[in-house]
Amino acid sequence: MSRKMLIDGELSDTNGEEANYDFDLFVIGAGSGGVRAARFSANFGAKVGICELPFHPISSEVVGGVGGTCVIRGCVPKKILVYAASFGGEIEDARNYGWEVPENADFNWRKLLQKKTAEIIRLNGVYKRLLSNAGVKLYEGEGQVVGPHEVQVTQLDGTKLSYTAKYILIATGSRAHRLTIPGQELAITSDEALSLEELPKRVVVLGGGYIAVEFASIWRGMGATVDLFFRKELPLRGFDDEMRAVVARNLEGRGINMHPRTNLKELIKTEDGIKVLTDHGEEFLTDVVLFATGRAPNTKRLNLEAVGVELDKVGAVKVDEYSCTNLPSIWAIGDVTNRMNLTPVALMEGTCFAKTVFGGSPSKPDYDNVPSAVFSIPPLSVVGLSEEQAIQQANGDILVFTSTFKPMKNTVSGRQEKTIMKLLVDAETDKVIGASMCGPDAPEIMQGIAVALKCGATKAQFDSTVGIHPSAAEEFVTMRTETGRVSVSSRKTNL
């Protein structure tokens, strides 16, 4: 997208010339990014159409739903299950606080599922209303790109609708990816895991990413026996190593059986459940096997290659810094571009798209200091660099401040779980370049820290902030002495 197209006069000129388009913008996919882009574009005065597959909790080529992954099969239902699972630990913790809770507190999965589905259907409706209130025309069906300015929507009954649009936005997201091992059809993905008919008693989770540890925590909290298998030494590759170790210890402490450096070889159906064979020659019998082995962009049936839109090796839509593909009229945002697959990032990309194309102010999404959270129990949240990234990227010395402590709640509950917090500081500029925390409320705590990091706050500014007492978060402003220093020359922590 060249800047000159955005100059007001010229934009209206082009409008004048090409007023024969059905829409200024047609969006394929009504998830977080698509809905945001559609609404904001409409608010800027664009005529917007959007298509989405019919609603279903488990996604496929032919079902989806307005709201997308986040609302229907991701963040929201996941967090609901995390809430439900957390009560398991709370009940244990309550006893030393004087509560007499019947030993066999009972958890009714079906009731939760029903309420979760009701909530998701409500949110699906909310999203539909958001669109219609913004004047966006919604079509139910499968969207395909037919030409640089033309989309086709195949409706449920098979009828095909064709529309022209000045701009087309691909926001079709991604889907869970399955491993190809013998018996893989016996396994489920996160979609099904959020909608199981019965609560499994025994679960095998394959994967070391955030989805794997979240589901391991969920099922464990609900009382299941959980075995977590992952390829590396520690789960959560890409996160700060120290945090990864703490998460692993906490998962283990909560009763999850950890199997590092282990792959699954085969799944076999038996009378007593699924038999799982590992590459170490071990056998496990389980009710459910979850593949949390990554997600793949939804680009297969969009006809993108035929119209000449370039994809990358994993099938993600290739875009420039403004989210424009190699065709100037076709743009893409969110997981389908596989940049940083987080809901709030898709929202940012959607907003930037609308501003760039219809708001007259070219805006690049800014991927610096994007905070994120893993809703394991207890959760992890980070913003900025990990210590390993900092060592790689920094030019000067890095100061490492860590604080490991027993949260106050655990002093009475007796839970043997520690909270860890870490700040990384550029020794020369005093700027805080990374923050991470694993412990209760970490995601809520990290948001404000993220504002500070985003704007280049210094360690001195952290130190000058008075604490809120007693909180866990106050530790972030009371870290006086560094626990390590990584010097340019040695590139090693002097711990």
Binding site: C70, C75, V76, K79, Y83, A84, F87, A94, Y97, G98, W99, E100, V101, P102, A105, D106, F107, L112, K115, E119, L342, T343, P344, V345, L347, D366, N369, P371, S381, M408, K409, T411, V412, D441, P443, E444, I445, M446, Q447, G448, I449, A450, V451, A452, K454, C455, A457, Q461, S464, T465, V466, G467, I468, H469, P470, S471, A473, E474, F476, V477
Partner: protein, 557 residues
């Protein structure tokens, strides 16, 4: 103390050696020597720290000679600093001073969960009768709400969970004992001499503890505050927050008098533990001084959880009936059948019987020690930090004051505590976190402000079905876009606000907030996604006047 003979020659201060020989008081020295074998065992690190501090020390000795206002620079003192009161502020100042190389002693009353003229304990109010035990009771009482929530998430209990008060008290007190021990260790590890007993100031450089005299170059008064019960008929039947944290049994029906944070926190605690709770406030609203909308919101949320507020109702007398139950008579009527009446009607500085009047130390009308910006009292060698000065009565503020004082006195770095954008929390249920100006303050100081609010049902409540909501408010200066205040009431507010306090303290703008990506799904992300002002307040004078106003406000905030 034990190290003084070693330290003197090692440091080679000419002033020290001759003075060491003429220690004015030898009795207390040897006794504290004997009572503290630990100082001997920890000699090596102390020696190291002394060597390390040697350079600084020389410097601040000269500075002190200049600034001591008539104190004799050549006189020897038992201690460089004698701290009366080992609460948050006193411990912080003492430790830091000792780390900077000063010889420090601190005296504190014997441990008790309930404070008096003769009892206290290392750790002070925060650890023994404030923040910590309060928060432990908040944790305990929150479970009833969590059990209710869990029902909406598919959990079921054969019988309703019951609470056993004595288990809670025992576990809480075990934790307090552990903490008071930790505080003692922190001090002894920092080579601070601990003296148990009541400290009194005899002259500008002498403190008496249980008949023994100690001389000190500087004296720090950090004796904190205590709950105040107004003298109405029958007030002897009432309890204060000290007692409320350590009751022998759970109140069945309690009247809490007061609308401040202590009243609200205890109302939440007892309500969560299933007592019948009545709160009596003189005014129309709770939490005077807080943002008006927060005041309304928290009262509404607490009422929904079952607390009964009696507004504009002033207590007149407490009566005890034959069956032992209490009645509270107010200007509007009488509430009967109370098991407890609790006063949460403010706290008073502990300035009585400290000998302050003897040295002519100035107090404020409220009985607080008057201090300058560096925490210095009207007597140049006497300083005061924390609640006894009644500035901003928060633990972290006392820590800040104590840390600043140690730097001023012993690191040659005159440091003023900075009271701008100090965040604070109320651990009511739901809790409140806030930092910076209220809407009312911001309107007054800046005139033109943009107010962003959100009032929403959190994800958890959509499933639990409980009427819990979250209220958020951001206040930005219309001219500079700077965020002036942030207020939040709802689950996790205190934890959420801390990070934002860093941002506000750093002077960040609303644009900076908006540039930050959210963490999804959290409540906190709402604070970086407030796009449209709820209202724009424009009361300020036109542009040239605004500049003036701006400058004034910037200096004053």
């Amino acid at each position: 103390m034990a190290t003084a003979p070693l330290a003197g020659p090692m440091l080679g201060f000419p002033a020290f050696r001759p003075l060491y020989k003429k220690f004015p008081i030898s009795g207390p020295l040897s006794s504290s020597f004997i009572s503290l074998p630990r100082t001997l065992t920890s000699l090596p690190p102390f020696r190291r720290s002394l060597l390390h501090c040697q350079r600084h020390r020389c410097r601040h000795l000269t500075v002190r000679a200049d600034s001591d206002n008539g104190a004799e620079p050549t006189r020897h003192y038992d201690f460089d600093l004698f701290t009366i009161g080992a609460g948050s502020g006193g411990v912080r100042a003492s430790r830091f001073a000792a780390n900077f190389g000063a010889r420090v002693a601190v005296c504190e009353l014997p441990f008790s969960t309930i404070s008096s003229e003769t009892t206290g304990g290392f750790g002070g109010t925060c650890v023994l009768r404030g923040c910590v035990p309060k928060k432990l009771l908040v944790y305990a009482s929150k479970y009833s709400h969590e059990f209710d929530e869990s029902l909406g998430f598919g959990w079921k209990y054969e019988a309703e969970p019951q609470h056993d008060w004595s288990t809670l008290m025992a576990n809480k007190n075990a934790e307090l004992q552990r903490l008071t021990g930790i505080y003692k260790n922190i001090l002894t590890n920092a080579n601070v001499t601990l003296i148990e007993g009541r400290g009194k100031i005899v002259d500008p450089h002498t403190v008496e503890v249980d008949g023994k005299l100690y001389s000190a170059r500087h004296i720090l008064v950090s004796v904190g505050g205590r709950p105040f019960i107004p003298p109405i008929p029958g007030s002897e039947y009432a309890i204060d927050s000290d007692a409320a944290l350590d009751l022998p049994s759970k109140p069945e029906k309690i009247a809490i008098i007061g609308g401040g944070y202590i009243a609200l926190e205890f109302a939440g605690i007892f309500n969560g533990l299933k007592s019948e709770v009545h709160v009596f406030i003189r005014q129309k609203k709770v939490l005077r001084g807080f943002d008006e909308e927060i005041r309304d919101f928290v009262a509404e949320q607490m009422s929904l959880r079952g607390i009964e507020f009696h507004t504009e109702e002033t207590p007149q007398a407490i009566l005890k009936s034959a069956d032992g139950s209490l009645s509270l008579k107010t200007n509007k009527g009488t509430v009967e059948g109370l098991s407890h009446v609790m006063f949460a009607t403010g706290r008073r500085p502990n300035t009585k019987n400290l000998g302050l009047e003897k040295v002519g130390l100035k107090l404020t009308n409220g009985g607080a020690v008057e201090v300058d910006e560096y925490s210095r009292t009207s007597v140049p060698s006497i300083w005061a930090v924390g609640d006894v000065t009644d500035r901003l009565n928060l633990t972290p503020v006392a820590l800040m004051e104590g840390g600043a004082l140690a730097k001023t006195l012993f690191q040659n770095q005159p440091t003023k505590p900075d009271y701008r954008a100090v965040p604070s929390a109320v651990f009511s249920q739901p809790p409140i976190g806030s930092v910076g100006l209220t809407e009312e303050q911001a309107t007054k100081e800046y005139g033109n402000i943009d107010v962003f609010t959100a009032n929403f049902r959190p994800l958890k409540a959509t499933l639990s079905g409980l009427p819990d909501r979250v209220f958020l408010k951001l206040i930005a200066c219309a001219k500079t876009n700077k965020v002036l205040g942030l207020h939040m009431c709802g689950e996790d507010s205190p934890e959420i606000v801390q990070g934002f306090a860093v941002a506000i303290k750093a002077g960040l703008t609303k644009v900076d907030f908006d540039a930050t990506v959210g963490i999804h799904p959290t409540s906190a992300e709402e604070l970086v996604t407030m796009r449209t002002p709820t209202r724009k307040i424009r009361m300020g004078p036109p542009s040239e006047g605004t500049a003036d106003h701006e400058a004034k406000a910037a200096a004053g905030v």
